[in-house]
């Protein structure tokens, strides 16, 4: 079930992560972000997590100060997508240890790397939490080793 996009944004409307699974121009992306953000932020607190925008279903869930929001095609299973979002949050939580918005702000590139180990092309890549964590650890090790070798700070 291909997702069209995944967005993370704060209650104040600041974008923290954007992953696009379909090719769109910059202008189109900005429009989608603007519209979807406005719709989601306008929802009253205890509404259901699904809404319709244009021809896609938007599934969103709020975790603390961040909204996790994704756009689905018509035949996709919304309830399962909620589980996908939850799984992503769990992965972030495992990696950062009690993840909060600041972690994602200051380590946005890591958030992307984790996402890329979990989803690809809008589909779930790995269903095991453990497997994703192991991959991240190993890749990180690769990174630091090289940097240590170069005796330079990572960035």
């Amino acid at each position: 079930m291909p997702m069209r996009f995944l967005l993370l944004f704060s209650r104040q409307g600041k974008l923290r992560l954007q992953k696009w699974f379909t090719p769109l121009t910059d202008r189109e992306k900005k429009k989608v972000i603007r519209d979807v953000m406005a719709l989601v932020l306008a929802r009253p607190p205890r509404s259901c997590n699904f809404l319709h925008w244009r021809d896609i279903k938007v599934v969103y869930k709020r975790y603390a100060s961040l909204y996790f929001c994704t756009g689905l095609e018509d035949q996709d299973n919304e309830l399962l997508t909620l589980e996908v979002l939850h799984r992503y949050v769990e992965l972030l939580d495992k990696y950062f240890g009690n993840v909060c918005e600041l972690d994602i702000i200051f380590n946005f590139e890591k958030a992307y790397y984790i996402l890329d180990e979990f989803l690809m092309g809008g589909e779930v890549l790995e269903t095991s939490k453990v497997a994703v964590s192991v991959s991240m650890e190993n890749a990180d090790t690769l990174q630091e080793t090289m940097e240590e070798y170069m005796n330079r700070p990572a960035f």
């Binding site: 769109l24 205890r46 309830l79 590139e109 690809m120 092309g121 890549l125």
Partner: protein, 819 residues
Amino acid sequence: MPAPIRLRELIRTIRTARTQAEEREMIQKECAAIRSSFREEDNTYRCRNVAKLLYMHMLGYPAHFGQLECLKLIASQKFTDKRIGYLGAMLLLDERQDVHLLMTNCIKNDLNHSTQYVQGLALCTLGCMGSSEMCRDLAGEVEKLLKTSNSYLRKKAALCAVHVIRKVPELMEMFLPATKNLLSEKNHGVLHTSVVLLTEMCERSPDMLAHFRKNEKLVPQLVRILKNLIMSGYSPEHDVSGISDPFLQVRILRLLRILGKSDDDSSEAMNDILAQVATNTETSKNVGNAILYETVLTIMDIKSESGLRVLAINILGRFLLNNDKNIRYVALTSLLKTVQTDHNAVQRHRSTIVDCLKDLDVSIKRRAMELSFALVNGNNIRGMMKELLYFLDSCDPEFKADCASGVFLAAEKYAPSKRWHIDTIMRVLTTAGSYVRDDSVPNLIQLITNSVEMHAYTVQRLYKALLDDISQQPLVQVASWCIGEYGDLLVSGQCEEEEPIQVTEDEVLDVLEGLLVSNLSAAVTRGYSLTAIMKLSTRFSGVNRIKKVVSIYGSSIDVELQQRAVEYNALFKKYDHMRPALLERMPIMEKSASNGPTEIVQTNGETEPSVVDSKHPPPVSQPANQANDLLDLLGGNDVVPVIQTTVPTKPASAGGELLDLLGDLSLSGVPTPAPSVATSQPSFLLDGLSSQPLFNDIAAAAIPPMTAYNKNGLKIDFTFERANPNPNVAVITIHASNSTEADMTDFVFQAAVPKTFQLQLLSPSSNVVPALNQGTVTQVIRVLNPQKLRMRIKLTYTLKGSPVQDLAEVNNFPPQSWQ
């Protein structure tokens, strides 16, 4: 040159900015530094600079100048560089830029890298944003990796293959061999992505689908895997709230759906496992319900046995009662999809669905409304409409327009009685009047006109509604039209359906004049009320007040109002003799099949006579009519249109065709058509004319009736009377009956007589001859100076969709009819 600041440092700094301007300034400064750093081809810090650029890009600032740098990072040997480089490529580049093609070579090399994580990066990037060209170039590499034993790479290669197939469907064949033993993997990641790949292939190509069904025996394999997932014990790695790998379960169910659709054998093979999943899945948490949801969708789509289908609908029914809003929403959505095919089963849950109308959540309300309209039928219309009207009262404005339209449609299809229909529409107009669509006003007017027995009741209710509230324009327009039309019934207190109210003529005129002056009235509404006031001049006794109003508006600033007033004024002054005929009661209107603009064809007294101003457009409230045509036909002089009010057929063309008919006749060998329609004898017609049917008090001379025509199931009988005032006029009433099984519609009866006679054809009672002799159409013919009467008649009607036309001569008139 000092080292560029670190990423986290930059982020910290930018976050301290207090205004947008301050932030912009910081960003511009940093961008300049980064740009110069890029220019210097600094390898060491490129990684850091691109990372910062990506951060600024996320804030919304342009970062395109970093695209080439990403490519350089990808080409670097350091893993850190590659990681950021590929991330940058995915964020900043897309297939629209030519630059991205430069990546192809790098990706190719990285796909063959010794480190699996580098290979993984390349696969990931290709699978997320690879263009068709890149996919074509690299498909071979991906296919190779699909066959590797390394599960980390295999799962990534599978999803990359999915992307390649989506971009270049022709390459699908290439991956077929590699799929052979994908499903025998133990690794869930590989299993999951394999199922996705197989799904994609089956969805895209019916050949593939057939191949996988038959040759690969996919269904048994999938059933086995699913069974293991359900039956196996606790697996901590894949467990979600007690369910083992729900993601994989759902994907398998989805693939089963595709395999089982329209295929009996496959559907048969999966019946058991579906039943098992449906009954055993734990429903306390969202994850269990996600699986159940997918199961229901699968059951509904394949050729499942009926017991399974009922089980599925019941699960949806249980979902509807769940506390969780998401689940209720999902249930309503699914029921909407199945309501067409399993209508009865969904009807059982109607009361729950209707309860969802009262839910607080907007998404749920909308779904419930759509589903409720889909469930309305002849049996439940009364109950459902009550709920829907209640919903209309209390819902948000965004729903009102759709709800009102839905109510009108449902009422039109299933109204149990005319009174109920009118009451329902009244309710909609009074509660959501401003939200109804524009075409509802003429539709409603037509409905009211055609409900003849409800006129008094309708006008009374509308009048009372007007007294309460004149702000909702559609309601006001309909009400003023009705009052203009049926004001006499209102004042005389004739209502049978409810307690008649006491209204004087002055009070009615007060209300209508109030509409004219009120600020709330739209221009269109004012037009309606002015016309209504004018029409009352023939229905009320006191015309002076009306004359005054009309003359005042003759100098109105609104051009439309002014023109109407001027013409109505002229009607009072110069053409007062025409006024009664022109402002008469409206006839029953014909309706065209669809609910598009109705084709209403009649002469009605509403039109400004063409003698006054032939260029005047018909008033907005009036449908198109052919009065002008008729008057033209009659010479366009001071001749009152002869044809009476209730003319569902086309009087203008009837006149023309009669003349034509006479041209055919060669009764007396004279080719020139005798004008049997009264053009040349205005005096005769005016003498005989009255606005009421003539034959009420005719002395029944005992002239025996006769059958004039009997063919193809259509029988026409003539009965005779002598007109009382003028014994030379024979009044013949035709009775048309239909013994076939289908109604005859668009029935037109025309008659012509030899030129020594004169014939007047009055309007028929209707133009539908009901089937199986359930009723007759009657029409009156008056013949002057009857001697041995002969007549040629022409009949046209539509039977079962095909038009029928027939000519006949009637010679067997009884001798008493002309003596």
